[in-house]
């Protein structure tokens, strides 16, 4: 145990907001601080990105803060799990006392998402990969899915079950973008328009506005605040490739290294996890992560999901908010994994609450399986 806790957690407005990134950031930060029972003036550490080229200074300026510690590592949607780890270290080292980890995007309102990604002429991909016109990042996940199906003999229908399970949870979460959309079937997923085979639009995460924030502080201080603390039990991280053809084994994501480090720090094993928030940018993403986290044997996650074990009432509840596939995906989804994990540990999830959840894992995947970061959280005992 690290002596660090998440004392506040909140979403900003989600969906299609018509708001600016800074307006959504203010919502996220203020709501998370309100949730903790803290004020802006209490904040002396900040971690965020996607605000501008100089994200933390821009947000500090806008909020009128002068933090003693900041981080704006830009590694994809898993950055927020890594921020929690860095914040825990900063607080332990005495560099900050109250750190807000936040994120917001208005990508749906602003129509700012491009299927092809962004070409940076000075990077090798501009010469050796972009000319082949892969969709970025979709085509990489598609190739990982294709390789997974081939290597393990999993079926296309089993892959689709990931999206079906996410929808089942979203139907229980009033904040989910697809809350009112009704159940999703395997046939629906397969019949959706093909994007990059084998992935259809229904295998791909939502493109929404949204974001959120969590407040990181010492466990000692968190115990005096508004809600029971979610204790940071352990964390881990792994960084890999960014080009599509440099990782030798496309199914070796590095998530296992991240997970092992987190379990080791926590003194826990996969069997101790009660509920899992696992980044689901595409249906293949959580399958590889569930295996890397030791929550499913290698090659068997597709079967575990297809058998219904990750759905409401299952023995391995995954992405209880409905995930990036059916709840919200604002470009970088990692902060919302943390928000839902905190709520599950507090027992405030209503219809989607996992009874007696005491240990939660939040596992982020950034880029094209480029970066993995894991945070294990638990109730205060």
């Amino acid at each position: 145990m690290s002596g660090i806790a998440l004392a506040g957690a909140a979403e900003c407005d989600l969906g299609s907001t018509g708001m600016s990134v800074l307006d959504l950031q203010v919502q996220a930060v203020k709501r998370a601080l309100d949730d903790a029972g803290l004020r802006l003036a209490d904040v002396d550490g900040m971690a965020t990105n996607n605000v501008g080229r100089f994200s933390t200074t821009a947000l500090a300026d806008y909020l009128g803060l002068r933090p003693a510690w900041v981080d704006s590592s830009f590694v994809g949607g898993s950055a927020f799990e890594a921020y929690v780890a860095r914040a825990a270290q900063a607080i332990t080292a005495g560099q900050a006392e109250v750190v807000v980890v936040s994120y917001a995007s208005n990508q749906r309102s602003a129509r700012s998402r491009s299927l092809g990604g962004v070409r940076e002429d000075h990077l090798p991909e501009a010469q050796f990969e972009v000319p082949y016109a892969p969709l970025y990042p979709i085509s990489y996940y598609a190739m990982a899915a294709q390789a997974y199906l081939h290597r393990y003999g999993a079926t296309r229908e089993q892959l689709a079950e990931v999206a079906v399970a996410a929808r089942a949870w979203a139907l229980l979460n009033p904040a989910a973008f697809r809350h009112g959309a009704g159940p999703l079937t395997v046939a629906d997923v397969l019949a959706a328009p093909m994007v990059s085979s084998p992935l259809t639009t229904a295998d791909c995460c939502l493109v929404t506005d949204g974001g959120g924030a969590v407040v990181v502080t010492s466990l000692e201080r968190a115990r005096d605040l508004r809600h029971p603390p979610a204790v940071v039990l352990g964390y881990g991280e792994s960084t890999s490739h960014t080009a599509m053809a440099t990782r030798d084994d496309i199914l070796d994501t590095g998530a296992d290294r991240s997970a092992r480090a987190a379990y080791r720090r926590a003194g826990l094993a996969p069997g101790d996890v009660d509920v899992a928030m696992v980044y689901d940018s595409f249906t293949i993403t959580p399958l590889l992560s569930l295996e890397a986290l030791g929550l499913c044997p290698p090659g068997q996650a597709a079967g575990v999901v297809a058998d219904g074990h990750t759905r409401p009432g299952g023995r391995l509840p995954v992405n209880t908010n409905g995930g990036g596939l059916s709840y919200c995906h604002p470009g970088q989804y990692g902060v919302l994994l943390l928000v839902e994990a905190v709520r599950q540990l507090r027992g405030t999830c209503g219809a989607r609450q996992v009874p007696g959840a005491e240990v939660a894992v939040a596992h982020g995947t950034g880029g094209i399986f480029s970066h993995s970061a894991t945070v294990l959280l638990g109730v205060d005992r």
Partner: protein, 142 residues
């Protein structure tokens, strides 16, 4: 592909791109540890040597590591569908490329591939791969 979509070139990669004008696929071989790598770069990712590479020519054979058929154009003017793949070259490295003549039904993983070339507007070519007409008989490509 329009001129503004032409791949950029730099000092290090100029010989690689020049070879594509003659439809030759070059790979970097490390002078210190003999590891072969693609894409070209200053550092050997096997031993850490810097600027120690020489160029060797690929034999032009490969196998499918994984692939995807793109059905939605990433930009206006790009015709779909087309197949993007990670191909394992006979020399060992992976290359991101295009595939032709390979079905989208999972049997692609068994296909033996040979090099072919996609012309660019400035005389350079992009290396691509197609199923071997006669298995194991492919060489440099045409």
């Amino acid at each position: 592909m329009t001129d503004d979509m032409l791949p950029p070139v730099d000092d290090l990669t100029a010989p690689w791109w020049d070879a594509t004008r003659e439809r030759r696929l070059l790979l970097q071989k490390c002078g210190a540890c003999a590891a072969v790598q693609h894409y070209p770069r200053r550092v050997c990712t096997s031993c850490g040597a810097v600027d120690a590479h020489t160029w060797v020519e690929a034999c032009g054979l490969g196998t499918v590591d994984s692939y995807t058929v793109v059905h939605r154009a990433p930009a206006p003017g790009v015709a779909v569908p087309y197949t993007v793949a990670r191909v394992r070259l006979a020399e060992g490295p992976l290359i991101l490329t295009r595939l032709t003549g390979v079905p989208d039904d999972g049997t692609a993983f068994d296909a033996e591939l040979e090099l072919t070339w996609l012309p660019l507007a400035d005389g350079r070519h992009l290396p691509a791969f197609r199923a071997c007409a006669v298995p194991s008989a492919g060489r440099r490509g045409d």
